[in-house]
Amino acid sequence: METYKIELKNIHKYFGKTHVLKGISLNIKECEVVVIIGPSGSGKSTLIRCINLLEIPEQGEIIIDGKKFGTIWDKKKNKNIPDKEENLNKVRQKIGMVFQGFNLFPHKTVLQNVMEGPLVVKKVKKEIVKEESIIFLNKVGLGDKLNSYPSEISGGQQQRVAIARSLAMKPEIMLFDEPTSSLDPELIGGVLEVMKQLVTEHGLTMIIVTHEMSFANDVADRVIMIDGGVILEEGPPSKIFNNPENERTQKFLCQVKRVENDGGS
């Protein structure tokens, strides 16, 4: 039997009465890079947020490294309830996440932001954390901004700090939730560059929600198209981008292409 890094089994998520995810099942191998695409409101962000239990799916299981993660089935309520916080946090340490809105800690410097996780959660010695954090910040090209505050650097730089902050926890899985969607066009390239570097150098299992199709084409092992809370189509990027089978995938890709052309890029 093949082993998977992440297994999602029949995930259902509701927001109030809205049924956002309608039974998504997905297996992801170690070191695989999966890109999730789909129109806004399709549930792709919700799906990625379920993987580290920022959203608790009412039904379904998340299995990481062969172990069920985060939810306990409550027979009486007939839905999942979250596991104890300690158990959640143990697994979350292995899963890095980068958000659309960066979510850097504004009261801490760039260096302190990156040091926070290892220092507080893993309780590593301060000198060691500092040394490693500087290495990670150099890697994302921000070695000269150590003592700046997030409000003093650009959005693209903030997002690269956020990536370094996640990497500092030495995760095995990285989740990217539309990491470039709130950036000005000229700042997107730098962030994508760093992400590409991660793919080639680090051997992380990565799940990326993005609208950057040419980037997806370059890095993805597999592309997954989601709409209306279900997986419409999946396959290698060459197939999805060149010969999509599903009609809605074709339409979506057409629209994205038109926007990209209008933008002159």
Binding site: N52, L54, E85, E86, L88, N89, K90, R92, Q93, I95, G96, M97, F99, G101, N103, L104, F105, P106, H107, E116, G117, V120, V121, Y149, S151, E152, A162, R165, S166, M169, L175
Partner: protein, 217 residues
């Protein structure tokens, strides 16, 4: 002229024990009230129904909807019937539970105004709720709240003069009794000055810190 100075020094000398007592009362009430308010705010934020929420809502409503003077009198005389209360302990209880009610609402507003992305970022690093509050949410809240907190401190200092009604010989009551003994009405200015020299630097400090932390908000 020299006589005037000597007399003034004598006045202050007489008022000094009251001034110390006022400071003790203020610091004790402020410390208890601020912690109480914070605890209530955090607990109310985490669960928005249930018995605790209902009780704490009433606590806040009642204490904010009745005069502080009446609260002090009630605590001193009502509590005094059942437990041994000194004027000082009654005053500390009265001032701190009043402050707790006001501050819990101030805290709650700010805690809820911190973007939920901050919680999510901390969670995704594997941080516990307690660490997140202590290291991420509270420091940011304090920076926003600081001018308010300073105001609450000044408010506590000034309303500590109400403790004179429970016969605590703090600054105001001491000044009053001094005036009735000596007919030196100017003493009230001296009493006011003693309050002012504590309150004024506090508000200056708050302005300074507010400016210093501006970019980290």
């Amino acid at each position: 002229m020299i006589k005037f100075f000597l007399q003034t020094i004598k006045d202050f000398n007489y008022l000094l024990p009251g001034f110390y007592l006022t400071l003790q009362l203020t610091f004790a009430s402020f410390a208890i009230g601020a912690v109480l308010g914070l605890l209530i705010a955090i607990l109310r934020m985490r669960r928005k129904r249930g018995i605790f929420y209902a009780i704490s809502s009433w606590y806040i409503n009642v204490l904010r909807g009745t005069p502080q003077l009446v609260q002090l009198l009630t605590i001193y005389f009502f509590l005094g019937m059942y437990v041994k209360t000194t004027p000082f302990s009654a005053a500390v209880i009265g001032l701190s539970i009043n402050l707790g009610a006001y501050m819990s609402e101030a805290y709650r507003g700010v805690l809820e105004s911190i973007h939920k992305g901050q919680w999510e970022a901390a969670k995704s690093l594997g941080m516990s709720t307690f660490s997140t509050l202590r290291r991420i949410i509270l420091p940011q809240s304090m920076r926003i709240l600081l001018p308010d907190i300073t105001n609450y401190f000044i408010m506590t200092l000034l309303s500590s003069s109400l403790a004179s009604v429970v016969s605590l010989r703090e600054l105001t009551l001491l000044g009053q009794s001094y005036v009735s003994k000596t007919f030196r009405v100017i003493t009230f200015f001296e009493v006011a000055l003693l309050y002012f020299i504590v309150a004024y630097p506090m508000s200056k400090l708050s302005n300074y810190l507010e400016k210093k932390w501006k970019h980290t908000k």
